[in-house]
């Protein structure tokens, strides 16, 4: 049962297995392997089996869709009613969400089975899952290395076949980068494509939810369920959702893919090589490559590390021990309640970003930092707009290196921030981006990123799928899995 969602869906439909059996299989694997890998913070065994049973009953009655009875994992940033939603933080360690996120509701309606809530960098801040209150997550390809972050738990779970598919969120690369480091496929949709209602906010103008899976086809199936207008989210776009699987097999003949020259400067040679190989494969399919320029690339990280912390400093002000979440013991007065609750409840990276963000918004600094960053943001967007006049899709590496070792970047926050260099601009512009496996450097996966124009998720999935038909990187399994 270590198969793709598309395959499992077929098996369920052909009654080769039942959803209950499938769910039990995954629960058993989780039970055996999670202690080691630490992908899951909460395993929802009872909920899963109950849902599997319902799915089987629905199938017997003939009321099914492609995802009915498929087990999935949800990043612990999505509110799940009646189930702990921790955001990887001590602050919400025992927070039982009183409502479901829209994405969660969508998956329930699609008939999926919830296996559990996955580990993540605290409040989505991080690129290695080393910032989680619940411990680090091991990369299934090399247990001494990080899976990436912030959606490290979801990526590792899919890579280790502890879930056929999982959800993640991406603010600066938190779906794409872990997908690359874990050798799987992950897509960040256009800003506004997937509802943010119930997706605990980190940086509101950058956050987007998206799926992880082994293949682009699976990601398309999951995105079909996730995407859509939500009246509860003012930033949700009222556009119809196409069937992302319908155009997977479209021909790539005549497709123009842009290669931003700045992204290929100083690139690790192994990664560069793999991307070269990928280009050869695409050329066979009739794709034309063109060099383009995205000159604002270098400034994307500084701009991001002003905007995201600024928004997060405000979004995280609600964590004060008054209405839910962690509260410090015996607060002496109001100020003590706030300060001790927040200092004890939040980890270092979160506190760092809150302080940077507070500073960037404060009197006297707002123009120089926040406003300046928003201007650079527009320039970055304009860069992409110009590029998309000449090309249909942009290709780049996803991450500057393969999975690094635990502790390698934790002493210097900036070195950690630099691992987002290829992904961050995409969030700032609000464009869709996908990462898919493109090879290995010894045993460590290498990912390639495809960036599309606004609301062109279907095209991205099509281009990714074409590559996966011609190659087999996405079928490799980590040793021992």
């Amino acid at each position: 049962m270590l198969k793709t969602i598309a395959e499992l869906s077929q098996d369920l439909q052909n009654k080769k297995i039942s959803s209950v059996e499938l769910t039990q299989f995954y629960l058993k694997r989780i039970n055996e392997m999670n202690k080691d890998l630490n992908c899951y913070i909460t395993v929802t065994e009872e909920v899963a089996l109950a849902a599997a049973k319902v799915a089987d009953e629905k199938r017997a009655a003939g009321k099914v869709g492609p995802l009915t009875g498929i087990p999935i994992a949800q990043k612990d940033i999505f509110c799940t009613q009646g189930i702990k939603t921790t955001c990887g933080s001590h602050m919400l360690e025992n927070f039982v969400a009183p409502y479901d996120a829209t994405v969660v509701k969508n998956f329930y309606n699609a008939g999926t089975v919830l296996l559990g809530k996955t580990n993540m960098d605290e409040f989505a801040m991080g690129s290695s899952n080393e910032n989680s209150y619940f411990g680090t997550v091991k990369n299934p390809w090399d247990k001494e290395r990080v899976p990436g972050g912030s959606s490290g738990g979801s990526a590792a779970a899919v890579a280790a076949f502890l879930a056929p598919g999982a959800t993640g969120t991406d603010t600066g690369g938190s779906i794409r980068q872990p997908a690359a480091l874990c050798g799987i496929t992950g897509i960040k949709p256009t800003y506004g494509r997937v509802s943010r209602y119930g997706m605990v906010a980190f940086a509101s103008s950058l956050d987007q939810g998206g799926p992880f899976a082994h293949t682009a086809e699976d990601a398309a199936l999951l995105l079909n369920a996730m995407a859509g207008f939500d009246e509860h989210d003012s930033t949700s776009v009222d556009m119809p959702v196409p069937d992302y699987t319908a155009t997977l097999n479209d021909s790539l003949k005549g497709l123009r893919i842009g290669l931003p020259k700045e992204y290929f400067e100083n690139l690790n040679s192994d990664i560069a090589q793999k991307l070269q190989d990928a280009m050869r494969e695409y050329e066979k399919l009739g794709v034309q490559f063109k060099e383009i320029s995205l000159p604002m690339m270098q400034l994307s990280i500084p701009a991001y590390y002003v905007i995201a912390p600024a928004e997060c400093s405000s979004n995280l002000a609600r964590y004060d021990g008054v209405r839910y979440g962690y509260r410090c013991k015996d607060p002496q007065n109001l100020e003590d309640l706030y300060k001790r609750t927040r200092s004890e409840g939040f980890g270092d990276e979160v506190k760092r970003r809150i302080m940077i963000g507070t500073y960037a918004l404060s009197t006297g600094y707002y123009d120089a930092y926040y406003l300046k960053a928003q201007k650079i943001r527009r320039l970055i967007r304009d860069d992409f707009a110009k590029a998309f006049k000449e090309v249909d899709v942009i290709m780049s590496p996803t991450a500057p290196s393969t999975a690094f070792k635990f502790g390698e970047k934790t002493s210097d926050p900036i070195s950690m921030y630099l691992s987002d260099i290829y992904t961050i601009s995409v969030n700032l512009a609000g464009l869709p981006g996908i990462s898919l496996p493109a090879g290995f450097n010894s045993h460590l996966p290498i990912g390639m990123q495809l960036i599309g124009n606004y609301f062109e998720e279907a095209r991205l999935l099509n281009v990714a799928h074409a590559y996966q038909k011609a190659t087999d990187w996405h079928t490799r399994k980590p040793e021992g899995i």
């Binding site: 009183p98 500073y359 201007k375």
Partner: protein, 97 residues
């Protein structure tokens, strides 16, 4: 653009975070470095550029004035740290100096 420990103390207070002397020694250089790093933004002239608050160039949607939420106090307060007679309890709020 170096931050002094005093600056960090002020920021921490605005953000309602405690910073011990040890924390100050830890955070001050890190925050300074980050701010130096983001100062790279000044390398480019953005005088006539409009700030971009949003990727979406759309107007705010408005909903009709209808009541759509039922009373769920029991559910919401079941996860509250300290509640009495339906009120959230906090250390006393003093209004007058």
């Amino acid at each position: 653009m170096s931050l002094t420990p005093e600056d960090v103390k002020k920021i921490a207070h605005l953000a309602r975070l405690n910073v011990s002397e040890k924390d100050l020694a830890f955070y001050t250089p890190q925050l300074s470095n980050i701010l130096d790093f983001v100062a790279h933004m000044n390398e480019i002239d953005t005088t006539n550029v409009e700030p971009m608050a949003h990727p979406l160039d759309l107007p705010q949607r408005m909903r009709p004035d209808t009541i759509s939420e039922a009373n769920q106090r029991d559910l919401f307060q079941s996860i509250a740290p300290d509640v009495k007679v339906g009120l959230y309890l906090v250390p006393k709020v003093i209004e007058e100096a």
